[in-house]
């Protein structure tokens, strides 16, 4: 199963490397949203709760783009039929899609976090970086699992571009609660403090619940 998942993942990454449909769009989108926030809030530098909110809202909105494109090859070019003909289980397909989304999110953050620190963030990021990375890693895992499920749910819909954000964003509310609350003290001017452990536990619980649910129901999205 792991071998199958890796094969599908390699296929997705090859497509992404050649077409550059998702990651550059996400990165550009996040920069644009930072500019929107700069003018919308009319602030040159942010810290604390505002900074955390802007960062997490931007990341979530950029993630929607990738979720929308996640099953594009399967849907538009009939790749799903080929996958169903191949002896590949639904769990492998789900794992591959979630892993691809996880990678896209990490690539997005490699661009978006330094850009955010450069453009909008007031306090320096260096001291809080390890904690922030831990929060981001767990949040990305949860978002990737939910995103893969939502992407598959929306794939067959006529109004996919509408349904995907409407499903994904409410489902991501616990992630933004935990992510923003955990990074608020990390991005504050005086820094430190906060109850990191509790929010990491919540993010972990979220990833576990949606991982289990997705694996249990994913086969019904790809059969026939």
């Amino acid at each position: 199963m792991i071998r199958h998942a890796l094969t599908i993942l390699r296929k997705d990454l090859t497509i992404e490397r050649r077409t550059r449909e998702s990651v550059p769009a996400m990165a550009l989108f996040s920069l644009t949203v930072f500019i929107l926030f700069h003018f919308g809030l009319d602030r040159d530098s942010l810290d604390g709760a505002t900074a955390a909110g802007v960062l997490w809202v931007t990341l979530l909105l950029a993630a929607v783009l990738a979720v929308n494109r996640l099953f594009a090859a399967e849907r538009e070019q009939g790749g799903i039929d080929a996958l169903l003909l191949a002896p590949v289980g639904p769990a492998a397909l789900f794992a591959a899609k979630a892993a691809a989304l996880l990678l896209y999110l990490i690539l997005l953050e490699i661009v978006a976090i330094p850009a955010f620190a450069l453009l909008l963030l007031g306090p320096s990021l260096t001291s809080a970086l390890p904690e922030l990375l831990a929060v981001l890693a767990l949040a990305d895992l949860g978002l990737a699992l939910v995103g893969a499920l939502v992407g598959a749910l929306g794939a067959e819909s006529r109004v996919r571009e509408v349904v995907v954000p409407l499903l994904f964003l409410p489902l991501a509310v616990p992630v933004i609660i935990a992510g923003a609350a955990a990074s608020e003290p990390l991005l504050a001017i005086d820094g430190g403090g906060g109850e990191l452990g509790r929010w990491l536990a919540l993010l972990g619980l979220y990833a576990i619940v949606f991982g289990l649910v997705s694996v249990a129901v994913f086969e019904f999205l790809v059969e026939d």
């Binding site: 499920l149 749910l153 929306g154 067959e156 819909s157 006529r158 109004v159 996919r160 509408v162 349904v163 409407l166 499903l167 409410p170 489902l171 509310v173 616990p174 609660i177 935990a178 609350a181 109850e195 509790r198 929010w199 919540l202 619980l205 979220y206 619940v209 949606f210 649910v213 997705s214 249990a216 129901v217 994913f218 019904f220 999205l221 059969e223 026939d224």
Partner: protein, 255 residues
Amino acid sequence: MYGSGLRALSIASLAALAAALSLVFFYAPLDADQGFVQKIFYLHVPLAIVTLGGFVAGGVLAIRHLRTGDRSWDLRSYVAIHLSIVFGVAVLITGAIWAKASWGHWWVWDEPVLVSFLIVFLLYCTYQPLRFAIDDPDRQARYASVFAIAAGAFVPLNFIAVRLAQAYTHPRVLSQTGGNLPGEMRLTFLVALAAVALLFVTLWKLELTSKNVAAQVKRLRAQLALDSRAGELARPVTAAGARSAPANPAQPAAR
């Protein structure tokens, strides 16, 4: 056959609602703090509990659908979620009225139950667009069931997350609902809860019956159209061409 027990259920829920309302207005004591306004509690909280129960029940019914492959379970799940959305609107309206009357604002963000409920409600509002944007009926049922299960799992998770977020800024006593109600209030509340639950079940069964009957009528119509066409084809042989005028479509149905 489809509507069996519907009459008894309707009468029971009507009686329960009447009992609940008379208890609310004539038996339950006035709240010391909030006075008469607090009585909306007996409508709002049961509605909210039944709505969330309906969402979770939709998920459980969806599991049965995916397990058995029987589409009638999907119909049950769909009707439960559909009704819960309608009840959810009532919950949000009664909640806003209560909030305005007792706290002075239509909406308060530091009430975790209210906020979680809104998020869950918004998520479920996507159920119908998702469902009806898929053409193939079999796939529509499966996708709707997957949504119902994922969203059903999300309900408790979301309540935990929002509760944590509130506790972070506003430490609060967790056991405020139900635990410390005086006897008369508790009795009234329980009767109101039972009445609203009965109402939900009655409406659920009613809509299910109506949908089943509509489907059967459609099936019979199709059968009828098929039979009448078959009758027309058969006529030149049996009636030996005596009647060449186009047949009244209603006639061949009486077979």
